[in-house]
């Protein structure tokens, strides 16, 4: 059986657009940091917001939902084949691409990387990061601790400020 999707109301669309303005860029940068792939980041954000629009008023907490969904989509994209219609990003000029940072993040385990980016870059509290990563607060502290240490080993003490 298929669950019928709600139709996005005008209010829901406005909410989604406002959320995109407020969070879209940071979300995409966070996914870039967490997964290291600009195409994955763009696709995950676009798909998550598109699904948010499709769901309309059904989503009770759009911000939490879209972050959670975008990261879930990104994980799927990371581990599987990329869809043919994936959004291209190569045309965007990047005057200051953070090569060193992304290379350092590559040295972290996937969960360490997600945790560090979500907590120290995106600013989510530990509890929320636990939700976003499907982990627990206790385990997350371990991942954060190790992720921080590894980043600082590679980038210096100021890597995480």
């Amino acid at each position: 059986m298929v669950i019928e999707r709600g139709t996005a109301s005008e209010a829901a669309t406005t909410t989604a657009e406002r959320l995109y303005v407020e969070d879209g860029v940071r979300l995409e940068r966070s996914i870039l940091g967490a997964f290291g792939d600009p195409e994955v980041a763009g696709e995950a954000v676009a798909e998550a917001f598109a699904q948010l629009l499709r769901r309309g008023d059904e989503v009770r907490d759009p911000r939490a939902w879209v972050w959670r969904s975008a990261f879930a989509i990104a994980r799927g994209l990371r581990s599987g084949p990329k869809p043919a219609h994936m959004v291209p990003d190569t045309a965007v000029e990047q005057p200051q691409w953070p090569f060193d940072l992304l290379a350092a993040l590559d040295g972290l385990s996937p969960l360490q990387r997600e945790a560090v980016v979500l907590h120290h870059y995106a600013g989510w509290p530990l509890r929320e990061v636990a939700v976003l990563t499907g982990s627990t607060v206790g385990a997350l502290k371990v991942h954060l601790s190790r992720g921080r240490r590894r980043l600082r080993e590679q980038l210096g003490e100021e890597a995480i400020r």
Binding site: E47, S69, H85, L101, V117, V131, S135
Partner: protein
């Protein structure tokens, strides 16, 4: 300088028009869609899952000495090309080439777990093809399990399970599985599921599940439920009334953003309602009223209800002949695999009690323990299924005896690939071991490279043992001897010593039984070993046995049938005091000698190696008893947790509030008398050493510090 905020330099295009275009496109039919066209999806995992199952089965089969051949067709179906009702027959066998399944959660692992369960049955199970599924029948009990791997039209594999198997015989030999698992990539788009086979368990106990075949099963959108890789089914009868809720949720259950009460508040929903997989579904304080769920203790009904502030759940255990007893589980003790309802986190023998759904394994649970010298080991993680949980981790490593005083050369952080860490009595050493499958006693693909690792204060970590047949629970005795029992059953107990290089040289002593509850393994003060063993042929009847390491003599100290004739499997912990008094924790509570000192099955006890027993009933405080069961110590009704120093001299009590609210006071006692109250806002007092040093963990950062009294 490179910092995380360098991400702010990344130029991100405005995608809003792209998003709105995408959103207005007709949503693709989920059934007919080629999986390659769907974002976030991977190809049909049926073959991969099948391969995993066969791989696991093969490993176990090969380890058990069986020589079976590959008989299953593992050719991946072409995406979208397989008819929905086409089924792939399964057979036990050895898969020649390992295929890694990048699943990351417990779905595939669940199958492996069950498959291992089947292959762990004594003798050879009977394998039959039944309507395209494979049914295994236990050679002795005739228990069955049916498994089908069925690719459906959109490339997803749906695996249906039915039957009755002892997933967790350690806790409940009568554990049943009547559910299904859906295998597939994590995706927020999942909005349908087709349950291909869910049959009624042959369970004589009354269940509200009347007839699976006549019930519609409805999927609640998993992403709306708060976990992209989760789903929930609501089972309704032929009249459309919801009579049961179950399913699998692989996100944090306390984070499921699902108004379960709204689902269940429709007319006709019985209350309490049975939620067989409650720990998978509705934790998190979202319940308005108690729910009954399958108890891990046979004969004991269990209910879950939230605290008023919904920050924690209380577990109420109701025994038939006694009044209800209640204990609370802190919200932070929840995870996707179970509810931690009691623990002992210091001393030589850390343990915890979990209420888990029968079909899942342990997951991330934190714990800490302290060596008599003041060394602190804390860990999180663990898990018993290879694709489920993080590996066990030593959080803050080995700390010194005082704040800021780590011993030179000691590791400050180490990863422990196991679920247990134990301390020796006479040397500053900890042991860690891989313990996959530990709590059920099932072996799960032990790898040769896994090993017991010793961590010493005076030198870097050393490898102590690496024999998969030996790997398991390690305890160290007062005379320097170390005992190891494998995670697998049956396996012989090994005993030995550590040489000067830290290598553990052990020899097999004896096999204690067909099922040894290795987490009950402990040394008595006089150097004997005690452990609970279970007799599978007698319904996993439990008995506490003592082993004389010098003579090899095994003595039955306590037979659960003498006090639990209706449920001899309910013995969950036991210890021998210095004077020989037995302390027993079983379904009816805690008994010291002949005196029952606690009536709830959720209580825990600790001994300090002498004649004192500390009994902790969550929510009801802590009481100290002597070897005759007489209360001798302080009773602290407000305490929520007790930490006992290794010799028992120091006690640490913390308020009975959720962990996140631990910001005020911990009560410190010495010899049962209050000596101080510690104010440590934002920190959680975890353990106490014999010199009164308290371990405080910062709730936000996770950093640990020691406070010396």
């Amino acid at each position: 300088m490179t910092v995380l905020s360098d991400l702010d330099d990344v130029v991100v295009p405005d995608r809003w028009s792209q998003i709105t275009d995408r959103a207005t496109r007709p949503e693709v039919d989920l059934v007919t869609l080629d999986p390659g066209d769907r974002p976030g999806r991977r190809p049909a995992p049926a073959a991969a899952v099948l391969a995993l199952v066969l791989l696991v089965a093969g490993v176990v089969a090969s380890r058990s000495g069986r020589d079976e051949t590959v008989t299953a067709d593992t050719t991946p179906p072409a995406p979208g090309a397989v008819e929905r009702d086409e089924r792939l027959p399964l057979s036990a066998g050895v898969f020649e080439e390992p295929i890694l399944v990048d699943d990351g959660i417990g779905r595939a692992a669940l199958l492996g777990w069950i498959w291992i369960e089947i292959l762990a049955w004594p003798g050879d199970p009977t394998w039959e093809d039944v309507d395209g599924s494979t049914r295994a029948t236990h050679p002795d009990t005739r228990r069955t399990l049916t498994l089908s791997v069925v690719p459906d039209g959109d490339g997803w594999a749906v695996v249906a399970l039915s039957g009755e198997i002892g997933i967790r015989p350690l806790l409940d030999d009568d554990a049943r599985l009547a559910g299904f698992a859906r295998l597939g990539p994590q995706s927020p788009e999942v909005d349908t599921v087709e349950v291909l086979e869910v049959t009624s368990p042959a369970d004589p106990r009354p269940l509200p599940i009347r007839d699976w075949d006549d019930e519609a099963i409805e999927l609640v959108d998993p992403i709306e439920a708060g976990a992209a890789d989760s789903y929930l089914v609501v089972t309704r009868d032929e009249r459309g009334e919801a009579i049961d809720v179950g399913g699998w949720a692989f996100g944090r259950p306390d984070r499921l953003d699902l108004d379960l009460d709204a689902v269940l508040s429709e007319p006709g929903v019985p209350d309490p309602i049975s939620i067989p997989f409650v720990a998978d579904v509705d934790l998190g304080g979202r319940l308005e009223r108690p729910r009954r769920f399958t108890s891990v203790w046979p004969g004991v009904d269990a209910y879950l209800s939230p605290l008023e502030d919904r920050s924690a759940l209380c577990l109420t255990l109701v025994e038939p002949d006694t009044s209800a007893s209640r204990t609370c589980a802190y919200a932070t003790d929840f995870n996707e695999r179970g509810i931690k309802i009691g623990s002992q986190t210091e001393g030589e023998d850390p343990w915890f009690v979990l209420v888990v759904p029968e079909s899942t394994s342990l997951g991330d649970l934190g714990d800490a323990t302290v060596h008599p010298s003041g060394i602190v080991v804390a860990w999180t993680g663990g898990g018993t299924a290879q694709a489920v949980a993080d590996r066990l981790q030593l959080v803050d490593g080995i700390l010194g005896r005082g704040p800021g005083d780590p011993p030179e050369g000691a590791p400050t952080e180490t990863t422990l690939d196991g679920a247990f860490a134990g301390f020796g009595h006479d040397e500053p050493i900890t042991w860690s071991v891989p313990t996959r499958g530990s709590t059920s006693g099932m072996c799960e693909n032990l790898q040769a490279e896994e090993r017991i690792t010793a961590h010493r204060l005076d030198r870097p970590s050393v490898v102590a043992a690496d024999d998969p047949e030996v790997l398991g629970r390690v305890v160290a005795g007062p005379d320097g001897r170390v005992a190891v029992h494998s995670n697998c059953n049956p396996r012989p107990l090994h005993v030995g010593r550590t040489d000067s290089e830290g290598r553990l040289d052990v020899e097999p002593v004896t096999e204690l039984g067909d099922f040894v509850q290795h987490d009950s393994l402990r040394f008595t003060p006089d150097g004997r070993l005690t452990v609970i063993r279970r007799v599978a042929s007698e319904g996993f009847r439990a008995e506490l046995v003592s082993l004389d390491l010098d003579t090899g003599a095994v003595t039955v100290l306590f037979d659960a049938t003498t006090v639990l004739p209706g449920d001899p499997s309910a013995l969950t912990d036991a210890a021998v005091l210095a004077d020989g008094t037995l302390v027993v924790r079983a379904g009816r509570g805690i008994t010291i000698g002949d005196v029952q000192v606690a009536s709830t099955g959720a209580s825990s006890f600790r001994t300090d190696g002498s004649d004192t027993v500390w009994v902790h009933v969550n929510g009801d405080g802590v009481q100290q008893f002597d070897a005759r069961g007489r209360p001798i110590g302080s009773f602290h009704p407000d305490s929520g947790f007790v930490a006992l120093s290794p010799t028992g001299r120091w006690q640490l009590l913390t308020p009975a509030v959720p962990l996140d609210e631990v910001s005020a006071t911990s009560v410190l006692l010495r010899d049962g008398l209050e000596v101080a109250r510690l104010d440590h806002p934002g920190e959680f007092a975890e353990a106490i050493a014999d010199d009164g040093t308290v371990v405080l963990t910062d709730l936000e950062t996770g950093s640990t510090r020691l406070v010396t009294q």
